[in-house]
Point group: C2
Chain length 247, copies 2
Amino acid sequence: MTQMTAPDFKECSDCPIRHRAVCARCEADELARLEEIKYYRSFSAGQTIIWAGDQMQFVASVVSGVATLTQTMEDGRRQMVGLLLPSDFVGRPRRERASYTVTAASDVVMCCFRRKPFEQLIDTTPHIAHRLLEMTLDELDAAREWMLVLGRKNAREKIASLLAIIARRIADLDDTTDYEGISFDLMLTREAMSDYLGLTLETVSRQMSALKKDGVIILDGKRQIIVPDMSRLLEEAGDDSDGGLVD
Amino acid sequence: MTQMTAPDFKECSDCPIRHRAVCARCEADELARLEEIKYYRSFSAGQTIIWAGDQMQFVASVVSGVATLTQTMEDGRRQMVGLLLPSDFVGRPRRERASYTVTAASDVVMCCFRRKPFEQLIDTTPHIAHRLLEMTLDELDAAREWMLVLGRKNAREKIASLLAIIARRIADLDDTTDYEGISFDLMLTREAMSDYLGLTLETVSRQMSALKKDGVIILDGKRQIIVPDMSRLLEEAGDDSDGGLVD
DNA sequence: AGTTCGCCTTGACACAGATCAAAACGGGAG
DNA sequence: CTCCCGTTTTGATCTGTGTCAAGGCGAACT
């Protein structure tokens, strides 16, 4: 099932995503051990990183680019179940096989940790286990918030919700504190958006045009988005205007 | 926001759900400490157990009955994001406030642990933390599987998926090893089902009637369900016929 | 036995989004 | 510059599910 072109491995000594990922709060000696089992891998847009059901050789953090987690039915219907932006974590300690297919939506660089030694590290380092639980709980909240989007929002609200989530994540990465006039590159095709939102790509396209016409977003090309007024976008998404994610 | 009738507290010494919940694999002294911070509470059908945003005084396991986790938009649209059957765990260590509203779908008994001391116990007992991570990962998988249901399945498949999940869970609780001719009490109203599936209650009713007419299920009254052929049900749900949940 | 109330079913119709089809756009290769 | 190919937009039509409305059924109470 796996047929990837051999990826380029490249050692590195300074993990640029330390601030949010597992390695946060680590002592020097723990970081040293992480270094030993760590390597970088890059993937080009469209490439499959891991197939559902494959043996997991590693767990990883996204360093740059966007990757997606998708589930597929036998007849080809697809649903994205996770969007992985820089600093997001992929993979499960203690699980032999991948549950979902991971695909590079744009060119992606990942910081991988060999799974077995990583698991040992967890067992001996309580605060890594602790951090892992925290991250998993956050992911669970995100998944549940998305269930509301999928189950109860209409097409326009779905699009607005997706844009709002990405805008916020991008702003956080850039340390932009004010959310007015956010501009960002939406690194997803219309098809990828439709897979995330449970829509067709035609509907996504139509609603993007509608949001543009109504001045909720400004499009520069197909992918570059400007959000002139974040609270307006959140309103379109049907969220509270205070903009807080439900904790 | 909280306005519950004072629940009846009742001490108990033997936790009947030890086998699957946090207390599994505990040593005698750890169990003793769990006993100290544990109490039972019961709720009647329809009662709200916890309101979203409320202070969490406890974490808990469902002992009997069915509870639901729901999210609501300001305009009243509701989405169920979790279904809690006996042995399921509710609440998050380290989170002050509840993220979702928990409601008793039937009469419910819960085994509660006072939150603060429970958190201390986690910090000093690695395998409880470990078990908690495992359970959270399982919940995450369940949530993501449900995203596929919400985003990509049609009404008939949604109903079949829900029935299949409940049937399996019930069979597991009863230690029924063969899945043929499962009979169970569906403890949800049509409205609760519609909240879970992102449908209206009319559509749920129509599709239940259709599945009955086609012999996929047999209805005894409104709630008692017999599934003559589990693989047929799974087929209707659009799942693989081997019946395995994606790991 | 009859009434009431909550839950469920069924029908008629409307509409959001899917489907099918075609054309426009844009970036890279030659 | 032009051609080509993948992506996106736009249009026309179809359909599954929502919406509104009426009626049925069963359990609890008088």
